[in-house]
Symmetry: C2
DNA sequence: ATGAAAGCGCTAACAA
DNA sequence: TTGTTAGCGCTTTCAT
């Protein structure tokens, strides 16, 4: 049924129907109620394409993971998507899941979406975001660094410092003085914040106990084995990813070192596995659902004429205390 | 830029541009190439809403998880979504992620999507699928039972039997005779197939070793504890969900029972956790990516005037052998 | 407060 | 082979 047919059926003009639907323009409240009621009865729903064509907005946003390999299969990104969806849904925006590749550009240029949320921290991703914003669509990038001063471009940042500092503080306060670090890359906001905070508490993160292990469980096991073999074995270890921490846990078990009695362990990310290992893992949580929700909200605000320059939104990490940490043995 | 402006700019009529874009109707190949080239140069992209309005198709499908709680946060569904996306993308279809609730109906009635993929096995889900198909949209339901003979409605089914039988066969062949089962519901295709196949190998699945444990890790631990306390302890256990199996693994560890040396363990679903526990879990895989891809393909075929009655598509499960199974101790 | 009419940007008959 | 024209279903001035 078209608006014309429907209007005729209930004895008003199409314009009145439109006014009733949107509540804009002058319209008699009584007529409005009547129209709305009869819409239900006759099951009339406006054709969304006609609306979008004339209104020039879509109420759709695209979410793109920039070809990050495991894509949606990875719970990390799945939770992010969930948050984005929540944020959009609250404003009746739809979510278009963009597949990696060039499709995203097509969606934007054909105006299938009003805006885009890009997830990715690489320079190329920031470049892509700029290009999208330049075409007139609104774009929000979720990554590790803030973007400011670019019109139609916003950013949401994972604040890695906070959680790392909390972890450092807790370990220091529990009396740990020889602390190991299992990392992925030497230049890492988590590592520097952790080291800095330890220093503030009079604890030095020694280079020989700082191991760039990798990212997998196996990497973690290997790294932990090295730490356990150190002349002065650490009493606590901070791992940059939970997967590394889980590997470390295994290695400890294999070497007969009890966690947390003999060595404490802190992970990072709070993947679901963290609650499933034994002992359960104390870890730094990245709240991916709020990350997604914030990105969605920022997008919507930019879309509604929000200021081009937003205060950068930072989603702070925080420590989740579980079983894998104990005071340092004397 | 509109088609009219673009057409004028390159000195042809809008109709010619349209023909060039779609390659339909009579058009001089040379003109076509020219138009296509100039589209690139002038960066003209058709407004998708105008296209959809007149073509009466959207090239969009909605994916709805029917409010299954963890939603996208759960890797199981994330992988499914991934498969769906792959299938749709191959035909240039877009994926609209529908949020639980009434939104789906709106997308369908407003013609925002041509079709819907519904994931859910409850009777209410099948009912919802029927209603969608009745409105004129095409619908595919992903669940445990096939639907046939309903126009515009297709189904993809997880073939639970195959994997369950493989598991039974393997355990029987490894010499296991006292086998336990940790289930979720008594009426279950997996349970009956497993029991039946065991019987074929001369092994009885004894009622006292068949425990309806639940679905969580904790449930699994409890169930396993009961099995371990049985007068005649089983030498192998089949768990209906990997979460149950993981719980069983823990319970075994707590009771000092080694897996697989003293008791073998098989799970079901192959969630990512299955590879992360120790020992890694032998389990029945449900290939969720192909499940999603099949659903997408079926949807597209129905959309393209495919037969209302499709042969029901079944995605078979199969056994993944890892470390948690060993021959029965003599 | 309501209706008539002019587009929104595209496709597809129908003419040429 | 190409152009002209009439919609697709809606919103929004501009009249009334």
């Amino acid at each position: 049924m078209t608006i014309k047919q429907f209007a005729r059926a209930i004895g008003v003009s199409p314009a009145t129907v439109s006014r009733a639907i949107h509540g804009r323009g002058r319209i008699n409240p009584a007529t409005r109620q009547m129209v709305l009621r009869r819409m239900e009865e006759l099951d009339y729903t406006p054709n969304i394409h006609a609306q979008r064509l004339v209104e020039r907005r879509t109420s759709m946003a695209a979410l793109d993971f920039r070809g990050i390999p495991p894509l949606l299969g990875d719970p990390y990104f799945a939770e992010l998507a969930h948050g984005v969806q929540e944020g959009l849904q609250a404003h009746n925006y739809g979510l278009l899941l963009s597949s990696p590749g060039e499709a995203l550009g097509r969606w934007v240029r054909s105006r299938a979406v009003d805006g885009v949320i890009l997830v990715g921290g690489e320079p190329a991703d920031y470049q892509a975001a700029r290009e999208i914003a330049a075409t007139g669509a609104v774009c929000v990038i979720v990554g590790h660094q803030a973007v400011e001063g670019v019109p139609k471009l916003g950013s949401v940042v994972v604040g890695l410092e906070a959680g790392a500092r909390q972890a450092a503080r807790m370990l220091a306060e529990q009396g740990h003085r020889r602390i190991g670090f299992l990392g992925t890359r030497p230049e890492d906001a988590v590592l520097s914040a952790f080291r800095d905070e330890l220093a503030k508490h009079g604890v030095e993160l020694r280079p020989e106990l700082t191991v760039m292990a990798g990212r997998t469980i196996e990497d973690g096991a290997l790294g932990m084995t090295r730490l356990l073999a150190a002349p002065e074995r650490p009493t606590a270890v901070f791992a940059r990813r939970d997967t590394l921490a889980v590997g470390a846990l295994r290695a400890a078990a294999r070497h007969g070192v009890r966690v947390p009695e003999e060595i404490s362990l802190v992970g990072h990310d709070d993947i679901s596995l963290a609650q499933l290992v034994e002992p359960t893992l104390t870890t730094v949580r990245v709240d991916r659902t709020s990350l997604g929700r914030s990105a969605a909200e920022l997008l919507l605000s930019l879309l509604n004429g929000g200021e081009p320059v937003q205060p950068p939104r930072v989603i702070a990490t925080d420590l989740v205390v579980r079983e894998s940490v104990a005071p340092a043995a004397r």
